[in-house]
Symmetry: D3
Subunit: 128 residues, 6 copies
C-alpha cells in the first residue's frame, strides 16, 4: 500500500504528463522501484503539490532551470510536454528559452529551442 504522499504525487503526475511521463516512470520502476517511489513522493507529493505556487509557474521555473543547466534533455522534453498540457502556449515556451540566452548564454537557449522543436514535431506526427 502506497503512502498518502505517493498518491498525492501520482495525481499531479497524471495531471501534468501524458503517456511519455508514464513511460519514463515505468523505465525508472524497472531500474529501481524504490527510487521511482521516492521521486513520486519527494518531487511531486512534497514539492510540486504545494499550494504556494501554481503548477504553470512551477513548470516555467523548471523549464528555465533545465534549459539553463543543459544536462537534462530527457527531462526537458517531458516538462515541455507538461507545460503544453497545463495551458502554456508554444509562444510562451519560446520566450522562456529566449530569456535563458541572457542568463545562461546563447547555446543553452538554442539547445532549448531545438529540443522544443523536436517535441512539437513529434506531437504533430503522433496526432496526425
Amino acid at each position: 500500500m502506497k503512502s498518502e504522499k505517493y498518491n498525492k504525487g501520482m495525481e499531479i503526475i497524471k495531471k501534468i504528463s501524458g503517456k511519455q511521463g508514464e513511460q519514463v516512470f515505468d523505465a525508472i520502476n524497472e531500474i529501481s522501484p524504490d527510487f521511482a517511489e521516492i521521486v513520486v513522493e519527494f518531487a511531486f507529493g512534497d514539492i510540486c503539490s504545494r499550494p504556494g505556487l501554481d503548477l504553470k509557474s512551477r513548470e516555467i521555473a523548471t523549464m528555465a532551470a533545465l534549459t539553463a543547466m543543459g544536462t537534462a534533455t530527457r527531462q526537458l522534453k517531458l516538462h515541455i510536454q507538461a507545460a503544453l498540457n497545463l495551458g502554456c502556449t508554444h509562444g510562451e515556451l519560446v520566450e522562456i528559452m529566449m530569456q535563458m540566452a541572457v542568463y545562461a548564454g546563447i547555446p543553452a537557449a538554442l539547445n532549448g529551442l531545438f529540443i522544443l522543436k523536436e517535441v512539437v514535431d513529434d506531437t504533430d506526427i503522433r496526432s496526425e
Copy 2:
C-alpha cells in the same frame, strides 16, 4: 544619443529594479560603458521587453535559472528584489527555490533560500 532599443531597455530596468539595479549598472558602466549599453539593449531592450511573456513569469524563469546554476549570487539578489518589486510574494520566491531542490539538488535550493533571506533582511533594515 542612445538607440530606441536602449531606451526601451532602460524603461524596463527602472520598472523592475530599484536603487541596487542602478548601482550595478553604474559599476558596469565604470568598467566598460560599451558593455553596459549592450546589456541594456540585449537583455532588456531585446528580450525582457518582448510581449509574449509577462515580466513576472520572466522573473520566475530567471530566478529559477540563477538558483539552479549557483554561480551568480549578485544577479540573483537583484532579481529577487526585482521579483518583489513586480508583485511576487516572499512565499512565492520560497516556492521557486524549493522547486529547484528537485531539479538542481538540495544545496542549490538552500543557497537560493539563504540569499533570499539576506535580501529580505537587508530590505527590512533599510526600510526601518
Copy 3:
C-alpha cells in the same frame, strides 16, 4: 507529530553531523519549516538511511560531487565535518579532492582542498 521517515532522517543527521549541522538546520527551519522537514525526510530519511551502501561511502560520493560541482561551499564544509565524524581520515579527504582534479579540473580540486583546510583549522581552534 513527525513522520517515521523524519525520525529516521534525524537519527542519521545526529550521527553524522555535530553542532554545525544542527545550526544549518535551525537556519533552514527559520526560513521554511516545511522545507527543513522535506530535507530531513528526503535526503536523510529516504536516501542516506538506505542499507545498500554504508554511510562512509555515501560521504565519499557526496564530497566528490560537491567538490566537482564547486557551487556548494557551505554544504561541502558540513560534509567534510560529517566524513571526519564517520571515521574518514584527513588524508582520505585529501585524496578524494585530488581525485577530482582528474575529472573536474585542478581549480575544483584546489578549492576543495582550501575548504578542507578551513574546516580543519576551525576545528583545531575550537578544540584548543
Copy 4:
C-alpha cells in the same frame, strides 16, 4: 621508452578497465599520442595509484562526480564498468546514483541510472 609513471598508470588501467577502456585509449592515441600519454601518467600514474585511498573508494568518488556533472556520459560508462570490475555490486552503483539526487537533482540521478542500465544491458548481451 615510457616513463615509470606511465607504466604504473597502465597497470592500474589494465586492472580496472576491460576492453572498452583499451578501445577508448586507442581512440585518444589516434587523435593525440601525447595526450594519451599525459592522461595515463597524470590520471592513473600520479593520482589513482596513490596509496592513501583504495581503488574502490576512488571509483565511488569518480562515479558520483561524473553523475553530478552530467557532461561525461562516455567516461561514466567506462567507470561503471571499472567499478563492477573492482567488485562494486550493481546495487551499490544504484545507491551512489540515488545519492546524487540529493546533491545534484533528480535528473542527474536518473540520467546516471539510465546510463547504468545501458552498460549492464550491453554487458549481458556480450556475455550471452
Copy 5:
C-alpha cells in the same frame, strides 16, 4: 529592412562560418525569426565585431569555454569549423582542448577532442 548592427553581424558570420553556419541559422530562423535576428545582432554585430580583440583570439576563447562547459556540442562543432576557416591549425585546436584538461578536467578535454575528430572526419569526407 535589417539594422546596421544586423548587417555587421551577418558579415562576420559569412566570414567565419561556412555552409554549416548558414544551416544552423536557417534552423533558428524556422523556430523564431526574432531570435535569429537577436543572435546576429548581439553575438556577432555587438560583440564579435568589436575591434579590441582579433577574431582568431575570440574563437580560441569561445572554443575553450564551450569545451569546458561541455553542454554545447552543436555550437562547438560550428566554432571548430569557424576556427579552421580563420586560420587556426588542427594542431592548435588540439592544444586548446588539452589545455582544458587542466581547468575543466580530463573528460571535458577528451569530449572536445572527440568532437574535433568528428568535424575533421566529416570535412575530409565532404572534400573528397
Copy 6:
C-alpha cells in the same frame, strides 16, 4: 631532487605569475606537497609548456574557460595577473570577458569583469 618535468613547469610558473602565484603554490604545498608537485608537473610541465600554442593564447583559453565556468574566482584572479604579465592589455581582457556573455550568459561575463576590476584595483594600490 625534482623531475625534469617539474623544473620545466616551474620555469613557466615563474615566467607567467608574480608573487601571488608563488603564494598560492606555498598554500597548496602546506596542504599537500604531493599535490603541489603534481600540479606543477601536469598543468605546467606537461601542458602549458607544449610548443603547439603560444602562452598568450593559452591564457586567453584559460581565462575564457574560468569566466564561463564561474566556479574558480581565485584561479581567475591569478590568470588575469598572468595574462597581464604576458602582455595582454586590460582592453583585451575586457573583450574576452564580454565574449563570454554570448556563450555563458551575462552574469558570467559580469562576474569576470568585476573580478578583473578587483585585480586591477589591487595592482594599482600595490604599485603606488
